[in-house]
């Protein structure tokens, strides 16, 4: 009987104040949707780092007048360096081949370039791509080295954009969450006020505190969970519509977002939504019911 009583009270409570309930759910939906997007983006940047950092190289371009002996010495030096995972030598001819492939669309340009005008280089993979600065420090002054270029810097710019978008959506999620918390608190106050007679009688005859509070707390939890599920649905639709269709070109550059990660957002959002709502309701009741 008690479970049924509590569930009934929850439904009646949500329905009694239905406009407020809707406002509460929408705010929670938007807030948790943004939170989900932010977390997904964070995971994505991580994945992309893993993926691209495995691929990127440091290019050590050699001066034109470098002698073979110096090239050999440099190769040994690079190979022996503890920061380096592997290094390959790229001769002028190799560079030309690569150049021809890269610019195959513009044959005029390709034919205007000959092997001599391209620098020879080492393509170096570092054990940890973050160690570029150390590597650069050690080799930038070495004889024969003209320029060292880190592909990571280019990627970093892309990641920085992602990071700021992610941060923005996180900030937005937090601001919306603040609004959601205030709405939940307000809804619970209104609910407690409209049931003040029942609450007074319950306290008088000695109903346990949890029994007095449970309908209110559960009301908030249900709203929080509905908001979380809607937020998740929004996130999923957004992923399918935007990334898988409209912006598919983009996903060729970004690594694809795995569905598993999106599904992971469901328990996360429901958990955060339910906990935050429950805590808000509980704290509100501390002040307004004094139980």
């Amino acid at each position: 009987m008690r479970v049924r009583y509590v569930l009934n009270e929850v439904l009646v409570g949500l329905w009694r104040n239905v406009t407020m309930t809707i406002a509460m759910i929408i705010t929670i939906t938007v807030s948790l949707g943004m939170l989900g997007a932010s977390v997904l983006m964070y995971l994505q940047v991580d994945r992309m780092k893993d993926f691209y950092y495995g691929e990127i190289e440091v290019s050590v371009f050699l001066a034109d007048n470098v002698e073979d002996a110096q090239v050999q010495a440099l190769k040994q030096q690079i190979d022996a360096n503890p920061l380096v995972k592997s290094a390959t030598y790229e001769s002028k001819e190799d560079a030309l081949k690569r150049f021809q492939v890269l610019y195959a669309d513009t044959p005029d340009f390709v034919s205007a370039v000959n092997a001599d005008s391209l620098p020879q280089s080492f393509r170096v993979k570092l054990k940890n791509p973050e160690d570029y600065d150390k590597f650069n420090e050690e080799f930038k002054g070495a004889t024969g080295v003209q320029r060292i270029i880190d592909q990571k810097e280019l990627l970093e710019k892309v990641f920085n954009i992602f990071n700021s978008v992610q941060l923005m959506s996180l900030v937005f999620a937090i601001v919306m969450a603040a609004a959601a918390v205030l709405l939940v608190g307000n809804t619970i106050q209104v609910a407690a006020y409209s049931k003040r007679r029942e609450v007074a009688v319950m306290k008088l005859v000695g109903a346990s505190n949890w029994f007095v509070q449970a309908p209110f707390v559960l009301e908030a939890v249900v709203a929080g969970a509905i908001g979380a599920i809607l937020g998740f649905v929004g996130l999923f639709i957004g992923k399918v519509v935007l990334l898988d269709n409209k912006l598919q070109a983009l996903t060729a550059i970004l690594t694809p977002v795995p569905n598993g990660n999106v599904w992971l957002m469901l328990p996360l959002l429901v958990g955060v939504g339910a906990l935050l709502s429950a805590a808000t309701a509980w704290i509100t009741l501390r002040f307004y019911l004094k139980v």
């Binding site: 009583y5 306290k203 000695g206 109903a207 029994f211």
Partner: protein
């Protein structure tokens, strides 16, 4: 049954205490009136016994439990042994007489089956047989107070606290309510009643404790309002 030992209660911001070093002992099965002018501290005693307020100093013992040191999470269970009736009835307007009484049982975890068995019995006892399915607004003041008494008594409490239960009733109806409380008292329930209805006190001839400005000025077995 009830012990107040050197109890002082000063509300925040109050210039003088509502109760000032009060000592009272009430035995099981007694019927006690607390009388005195408004603001004398009578109602504070009821609140202390229910632990709605905390004594500033002194010790309050109810049912052999030290209320002053009772942990707040134990208060609900403690209150199940005390029934309460108030001047304003405090019934739920959207529930019938039966539902009002049943509600009090159900929220402390009794099943509907228990309520079906016990509630008609207690409504019969308070003289509301046949009016179980009336809503409070369909009942007279006296009948509403009977519902309240039924609700207070349905759980067979050891103590019944009544805070001016006849305050809103005409003299004839008041006497009926008093007969009811007397009947409940005869079942062994301790009754503590706060009132300034002199007629009733004079008719009942029970123990009278008079309070003035927070102090007990008279404690008389079989007393009158005087």
């Amino acid at each position: 049954m009830i012990q107040l030992e050197n109890v002082t209660k000063t509300y925040p911001k109050a210039s003088r205490p509502s109760l000032d070093n009060v000592n009272v002992g009430i035995e099981k099965g007694e019927f006690v009136f607390f009388i005195g002018p408004s603001g004398s501290g009578k109602s504070t005693i009821i609140k202390l016994l229910l632990k709605e307020v905390q004594a500033t100093r002194g010790k309050v013992v109810v049912n052999a439990k030290d209320v002053t040191s009772l942990r707040s999470w134990k208060v609900p269970h403690f209150r199940r042994s005390i029934g309460c009736v108030f001047q304003d009835f405090r019934l739920l307007p959207n529930r019938t007489a039966y539902e009002n009484v049943a509600f009090a049982l159900e929220v402390i975890g009794k099943t509907k089956a228990v309520a079906r068995r016990v509630v008609p019995e207690v409504l019969e006892l308070v003289g509301l047989g046949g009016k179980e399915h009336r809503y409070p607004h369909e009942l007279s003041g006296g009948e509403q107070q009977r519902v309240a008494v039924a609700r207070a008594f349905v759980n067979r409490p050891l103590i019944l606290l009544a805070d001016e239960p006849t305050g809103n009733l005409d003299p004839d109806t008041s006497i009926e309510i008093m007969r009811l409380l007397d009947r409940i008292n005869r079942t062994g329930t301790t009754v503590v009643m706060v009132t300034h209805d002199s007629n009733i006190v004079n008719q009942m001839r029970r123990r009278v404790i008079e309070i003035e400005s927070g102090r007990i000025v008279r404690d008389q077995a079989r007393g009158v309002y005087g």
